[in-house]
């Protein structure tokens, strides 16, 4: 046994003793793990990137895996002063009137059904938006929305095999178009659900709303895109087939099965080309009753949550929250049922596939199944919210004996802490899952982290799935609140270190100290500023009250890691300008005074000296003189 291993085991034992010592029973029973398996020595890189959705933080958290070390947080829907995001004109415009979002399901871009490492798409469940993060610089490049007709884009962002579409299902149904009132009692008649196809430009990643499909007012919950034999299809779950509009906890939990959707997005594309749509709020909206084959409903055991297609594209797994089963559907059988019109009825004119005809089997995975991931070796791993476990089971094809008793295909279970929501295996939604690690993202952290008061972090637990038995390896904590995550092999990404000077396209960029300048046009003062270690040029700027001052600041550095900040005292401006980047800050000057600005990102030995002054004169001399009879206190040095 090596020295390192001995030390690790001793320290693990020691911490176990400590935990036992403080008498926390819930922590005591779970103090297992083998951190040596996930240990990445200082100076070495992790093998994978792990992109967590940040939930209502409106951000994406990036960690290295297997070390689980947090690397960086990417602000998407929320301003983040640490990144200067939401302070410069461009990011302010992108955020619009919202200062937060609810990020649920990150989706990596794909080519040929595998991750191509170009973009990460995320949704905003709160304000009905989707965003694109460029993985060349880990920055948010586009926010699309609020999407017309869509309210709560929860079943998003699911990317088709070749980045054709990003699919979005609206969680909340509303009367359409947005802004229209309808009484809540008329829910079934007046409200509608919507499935949206967002076109992705294959060169630039630019997203645009391509089409929407009108559905009954179910609550579309989650989805997955098909691949291989199911390439043209996407599969959605919904809850509230009951179409309740109040006390959904009870009223939407009445039916034994809810209706999921089998969507042929190729036919949606064709319907738009053929003009089979109505424009609602500027979007071509398709009535599925008029396009045969476009939409079929699929019964899924009670109040399902996750809907996951396996790496081969032949099996789709619906996880019934209130049914202790993972329902495995056969794509072959679904396609056959569609062809044979093997329906059990219809709902609002849309045919319902006959459950028994398309089902391969209900695997008794355990209580509260939410999501399923795949290892590429024929196994599924389902998160069990109520049992606080991950259940490993064998995908079909099953032997007749197994089929007769599907308990036999449940291979292993592992405790997680606690109330697991999503789980992720790298590449599970591609043809080639990595199949070595599983990360469980748990909703309740009670007793796991060092106490930090009343607002607890989330736990994510790293589980080794290489062997027959799952093995708990490590535990990490994140801020609220990862829902889903994506994992990509680090060598698939080639992030830049600086923005190359020769590729700068900003017309306001200045690269030389001697080109820095201040130009006045009427009441607008434009400053073309250079930021370089350790100065701003110009650093003494004069303007007057009523002026609009526009700072175009170029960080002319070309060395990785040398960012400069631009913080203007008492004007709520903080930029972080990366090497080679130009950012624009527009400030309306509303009061006289001399306002220091400084570099807020530590840049060099003389970083502290990197500062300047914005001197704002009164609009006219009279405005500056004290009001008659009212003495004004001024401070000055004698």
């Amino acid at each position: 046994m090596t020295m390192k291993k001995t030390t690790l085991i001793l320290s693990a034992l020691f911490s176990a003793l400590l935990i036992t010592g403080c008498g926390r029973p819930e922590a005591k029973q779970a103090a297992t793990g083998d951190a040596s398996l996930s240990f990445v020595p200082p100076g070495q890189h992790d093998k994978y990137y792990l992109f967590y959705s940040g939930g209502h933080s409106g951000q994406v958290f990036v960690a290295g895996m297997p070390s689980m070390r947090h690397l960086v947080t990417i602000p998407v829907f929320s301003p983040a002063s640490g990144k200067g995001y939401g302070f410069d004109d461009k990011s302010r415009e992108m955020l619009g009137k919202f200062t937060w979002g609810d990020v649920h399901h990150p989706g990596l871009s794909k080519t040929g059904g595998n991750y191509d490492g170009r973009w990460l798409f995320v949704n905003d469940n709160a304000n009905n938006r989707v965003a694109r993060i460029d993985l060349s610089d880990f920055k948010t490049k586009q926010i699309l929305g609020p999407l017309p007709n869509s309210s709560g884009s929860h079943a998003s962002s699911f990317v088709t095999e070749d980045n054709e579409y990003l699919l979005v299902g609206t969680r909340f149904s509303i009367p359409l178009p947005k802004g229209r009132y309808a009484p809540l009692e008329d829910y079934e008649k007046e409200f509608a659900g919507v499935l949206t196809g967002i076109k992705v430009n294959k060169e630039t990643g630019e997203m645009s709303v391509a089409w929407q499909i009108l559905t009954p007012p179910f609550n579309w919950d989650l989805a997955s895109t098909g691949k291989g034999p199911s390439h043209d299809y996407a599969f959605f779950t919904s809850y509230n087939t009951e179409m309740a509009h109040t006390l959904l906890e009870v009223n939407a939990s009445q039916l034994d099965r809810d209706l999921g959707a089998v969507l042929n997005w190729k036919l949606a594309e064709k319907a738009v080309t053929d003009g089979q749509y109505t424009l609602i709020d500027g979007v071509p909206v398709i009535d599925p009753r008029k396009v045969p084959g476009l939409l079929h409903f699929l019964p899924i055991p009670k109040s399902p949550h996750g809907m996951d297609t396996d790496p081969s594209g032949a099996w789709v797994v619906g996880s019934g929250k209130l049914s202790p089963t993972a329902a495995v559907f056969s794509v072959e059988k679904i396609l056959k049922a569609i062809a044979d019109k093997d329906f059990s009825g219809e709902n609002h004119g849309t045919p319902i596939l006959k459950y028994e005809s398309v089902l391969e089997g209900e695997v008794p995975v355990g209580l509260g199944p939410l999501h399923t991931q795949f290892d590429g070796r024929g196994n599924g791993y389902t998160s069990l919210f109520i049992d606080s476990q991950v259940s490993k089971w064998k995908l079909p094809p099953w032997t007749p004996e197994e089929k007769a008793n599907l308990e036999k295909v449940v291979l292993d279970k592992i405790d997680v802490h606690y109330n697991i929501g999503h789980l992720v295996i790298g590449g599970s939604d591609t043809h080639e899952p990595y199949g070595d690690w599983l990360v469980a993202m748990n909703k309740q952290a009670v007793g796991r982290p060092l106490p930090v008061g009343t607002a607890l972090p989330e736990t994510s637990q790293l589980i080794d799935i290489r062997g027959d038995k799952m093995k708990m390896v490590a535990e990490a904590f994140t801020d609220k609140e990862p829902h889903f995550a994506q994992v990509i092999r680090a060598d698939k990404l080639k992030p830049i270190g600086v923005y190359p000077k020769d590729q700068s396209k900003d017309p306001n960029a200045v690269w030389k100290l001697e080109d820095a300048k201040v130009t006045r046009k009427g009441d607008t003062v434009e400053v073309n500023m250079v930021a370089i270690r350790s100065r701003f040029a110009p650093d003494n700027i004069e303007a007057k009250v009523g002026d609009t001052i526009v700072f175009h600041i170029t960080n002319v550095e070309q060395v990785a890691g040398i960012a400069h900040g631009f913080s203007l005292n008492e004007h709520n401006i903080n930029g972080s300008i990366d090497p080679g980047e130009t950012k624009t800050f527009t400030v309306k000057l509303d009061r006289p005074g001399v306002f220091p600005f400084y570099c807020s990102v530590f840049c060099s030995a003389l970083h502290q000296e990197m500062q300047g002054y914005l001197a704002v004169k009164p609009a006219d001399a009279a405005a500056n003189s004290p009001a008659p009879g009212k003495p004004v206190e001024t401070a000055s040095r004698k």
Binding site: I532, R533, E557, Q558, V559, A605, L606, E609
Partner: protein, 217 residues
């Protein structure tokens, strides 16, 4: 020395006489080919840096690199290393390094062109005297170039702006070898270009040696 002793001065005369004999020696075919090779090496030297200065610090793990050619200054990382070196040097008030300041880079190509022609001329005309001229001139030229290079380094290290934020004693940057300047380890070494030029000079000397046994005409 014994021959110089006679008062008549016959020894000196004979020495001069033997030199004249030596200088009138014709070059054999080997010497001429060696000269052509020397000319070729000189031309080839243009394609390679003659000197390289490298600066390594903990935060510049990959190092900042300056390659000095006979006719240009080339910095690593698509030229950015020079920007970085100048940026760092401004803290100690050193004048920015710029190719325009290296005047010799402008006339060096002309000088080498001239030497190239002179070597070919020697190879064609085939007299020992041309080879001796060449060896002396080229040797002088090489020594002069290294001298100016050292002087440049001295000037950069000694004309420091008195307003600089960091005041340091004027210093002589390392010409050949490794030295430590603050957090940087500077290494400065001749490169393939210099080796080719030196070889070219050695070949010129060799051309003379190969024809030592020829009879003066």
């Amino acid at each position: 020395m014994r021959e110089e002793k006679p008062a008549s001065g016959g020894g000196l005369r004979s020495l001069l006489g033997s030199q004249q004999v030596f200088l009138r020696k014709p070059l054999n075919i080997t010497s001429r080919l060696v000269l052509v090779l020397a000319a070729a090496l000189m031309v080839a030297a243009m394609a390679f840096p003659v000197w390289k200065i490298r600066l390594v610090a903990p935060q510049y793990r990959e190092g900042l690199e300056l390659s000095i050619y006979t006719w240009k200054l080339e910095a690593g990382n698509k030229g950015q290393d020079l920007v970085e070196i100048n940026l760092l040097n401004h803290y100690i008030g050193m004048k920015p390094l710029a190719q325009a300041d290296f005047l010799e880079m402008q006339w060096m190509p002309f000088a080498f062109g001239l030497f190239f022609l002179l070597i070919l001329r020697a190879a064609v005309l085939g007299w020992m005297i041309s080879v001796v001229d060449l060896a002396v001139l080229f040797g002088y030229f090489g020594a002069f170039s290294i001298g100016t290079f050292a002087y440049r380094l001295y000037t950069y290290g000694h004309n420091l702006d008195s307003m600089a934020p960091v005041k340091i004693e004027p210093f002589m940057p390392m010409l050949i070898g490794v030295s430590k300047i603050a957090n940087f380890t500077q290494s400065s070494f001749p490169q393939l270009g210099a080796i080719l030029l030196f070889s070219s000079w050695v070949l010129i000397l060799a051309a003379a040696v190969f024809s030592l046994k020829e009879k003066a005409l």
